[in-house]
């Protein structure tokens, strides 16, 4: 089935003219029409615009444009509803943006298009990327293609579910505390959070600016490397984008782990870790050893403070970033007698409960009298967390752990208790605080019901080559990535 191919398989067929970009898009859109009523990954999609892009790709293919020139030529790729796509609606799965239409393309969208991709659709998410299940979407909850009574993870739940359901060949999301890796893990696909500063955030609606990064969701590690290659690199429109050359990630996919030292984290033996997840990850570690890696125990002594640090820093930054949703320049305005009342009413009516919680929390920890006790202290603990990682990376080339402590949970299971929901990010958030890179790759399934389990591989700052090398070697020595969900 065309839609079930990986990007490298599809681009091979396109280059050999065995199928057209139109066929590839059609296979996705036809399937989307069939299964998205069950998965509910897409908020909307502009089929006519996508078709025009696919036809342009077919003209390029006919003119002899090669994969070396346009590595994603004719590949349908969908976007999380947090990235600006010129002329298309943008809501961040919130009510507050009303009928907003993006006036420009995000840098990643420009780069995907320059690489030949057919960019389409808006994928559901937790409102403003705040959540771990998509239950905080103002529209609806996306469901897991492996079991539609369960959540797909979040906040980029639509991204993960759409790829796992073969509604697109890949998708692009954002990760502030695990929002790419956790849903990738729960939906049985690959998801990458690049090192902070590697991918331009221009055109990404900001949640927590010092933690947000954009990254791909794909069916295998090679496809993620191909997409990251296309979207990474300096952009002068994002002043936090790092001006250094991007290495050739495909060259890192050697399949060989000899000579590498891989760390397992002493402090990650926590309560609440599901026994089946624990067993799958332990088997994966054995497999890495079989492939030639040396396994070393490392210590991240401040791990236990990562969640508390994150839930001060991220809401603080969010409270500042979300101040722009004021009902003046855009938003579904609710009028008031003066601008302050207009702001308060607009935000009271437009923001959902989780966004209100976090903006109010962030406002509090930044307010006069509490700044030092909360925000400044959290920034200092962040330094300690980052130093823990830098020290560990003096001993090892990569670190592995579970991506999430459990497989996909039931819709409604955690939504009543925000703190419980926050703790489902326990293995992923320290990566964002430390500014390093991470990937989730499938590493097994729970028995009954059959739900995917993910292995997280963390790399040094700008250590994507080693991260990809480890994830790829592991993936290629197992069959987990060949499994497709019942709705694929």
């Amino acid at each position: 089935m065309l839609r079930q191919l990986t990007i490298s398989e599809l681009t091979g067929r396109l280059a050999r003219r065995e199928c057209s970009a139109r066929d590839a898009l059609r296979s996705c859109l036809d399937h989307l029409a069939q299964v998205d009523g069950q998965v509910k990954a897409f908020l909307s999609h502009d089929a006519a615009d996508a078709l025009a892009q696919a036809e342009a790709a077919d003209r390029d293919l006919a003119a002899g444009v090669t994969p070396a020139e346009k590595p994603l030529l004719g590949v349908p790729i969908a976007l999380k509803d947090v990235l600006c796509h010129r002329g298309q609606p943008l809501n961040c799965s919130s009510k507050i943006l009303g009928q907003f239409v993006s006036p420009y393309d995000a840098t990643v969208v420009e780069r995907l298009k320059a690489a030949g991709a057919v960019v389409f659709g808006r994928l559901n998410m937790d409102e403003f990327a705040m959540g771990s299940s998509t239950e905080n979407s103002a529209f609806w909850t996306t469901l897991n293609p492996w079991d539609t009574s369960r959540i797909p993870g979040g906040s980029s739940g639509g991204c993960a579910a759409s790829v796992a359901a073969s509604e697109c060949f890949a998708s692009i999301g954002s990760d502030t505390g695990g929002s790419i890796r956790q849903p990738a893990s729960l939906c049985g696909i690959v998801g990458v959070k690049p090192t902070y500063g590697l991918v331009s955030r221009y055109g990404l609606v900001a949640f927590a600016s010092s933690l947000d990064q954009i990254g791909p969701f794909t069916k295998d590690v090679r496809d993620s490397a191909t997409i990251l290659q296309a979207i990474a690199g300096h952009d002068r429109r994002d002043s936090t984008s790092v001006p250094q050359p991007v290495p050739d990630y495909a060259k890192a996919l050697t399949g060989d782990l000899r000579g590498l030292r891989i760390g397992i984290v002493k402090e990650f033996n926590i309560g609440g870790l599901d026994p089946e997840v624990d067993a799958a990850v332990k088997l994966a570690v054995k497999q890495l050893e079989t492939l030639g890696a040396e396994i070393v125990e490392v210590s991240l002594p401040h791990s236990d403070y990562a969640a508390a640090t994150y839930y001060i820093i991220a809401p603080a930054e969010a409270s500042a970033n979300l101040a722009r949703f004021d009902g003046i320049r855009y938003c579904a305005r609710v009028d008031g007698r003066d601008p302050a009342e207009l702001n308060s009413r607009t935000r009271g009516a437009g923001f959902g409960a989780e966004v209100k919680r976090r903006v109010i929390l962030g406002t509090y920890v930044l307010s006069s009298g509490y700044y030092d006790a909360f925000y400044l202290r959290a920034q200092k603990v962040r330094t300690l967390i980052r130093n823990d990682f830098l020290k560990a990376f003096e001993q090892v080339d990569a670190i592995v752990s579970p991506t999430a402590p459990t497989a996909a949970f039931k819709v409604g299971e955690k939504s009543g208790d925000p703190l419980q929901m926050y703790l489902s990010d326990i293995f992923t958030i320290s990566c964002n605080l430390a500014g390093i890179c991470g990937i989730s790759v499938p590493c097994g399934f729970t028995k009954s019901p059959k739900l995917p389990i993910g292995l997280q591989v963390l790399g040094k700052p700008f250590g994507e080559e080693t991260m990809f090398r480890v994830a790829h070697a592991y993936e290629q020595s197992t069959d987990w990535h060949r499994e497709r969900s019942p709705l694929a």
């Binding site: 006036p103 855009y330 209100k356 909360f374």
Partner: protein, 93 residues
């Protein structure tokens, strides 16, 4: 967190809450603040704060004129506009 005044902080955040929301969010935020208070256990003496994992300083671009959004494009999402300007309630009497 006995001194956490949800009504006051929501006002600072410019978010209008119903009394029911105030009650519910206030309780939940109390729990969360109780949890994050564990950072008080950490000895941070002499530790520099991290604002950004990779702080870049003095990022500038060449001072060149480049293209920008046309005026009407920039205004297209305005909830109320007149004469190419955003309309807001009266600020000064």
């Amino acid at each position: 967190m006995s001194d956490f005044d949800i009504h006051y902080v929501a006002k600072l955040a410019r978010i209008e809450l119903t009394p029911e929301e105030e009650q519910k969010l206030g309780d939940q935020l109390g729990n969360i603040l109780g949890y994050v208070a564990k950072l008080k256990e950490v000895d941070v003496t002499g530790v520099e704060p991290t604002a950004h994992a990779f702080p870049l300083v003095n990022v500038v671009r060449p001072d060149e004129v480049t293209g920008s959004l046309p005026h009407d494009e920039a205004m297209r999402n305005a909830p109320a506009k007149a004469g190419g300007l955003f309309v807001v309630p009266k600020i000064v009497e």
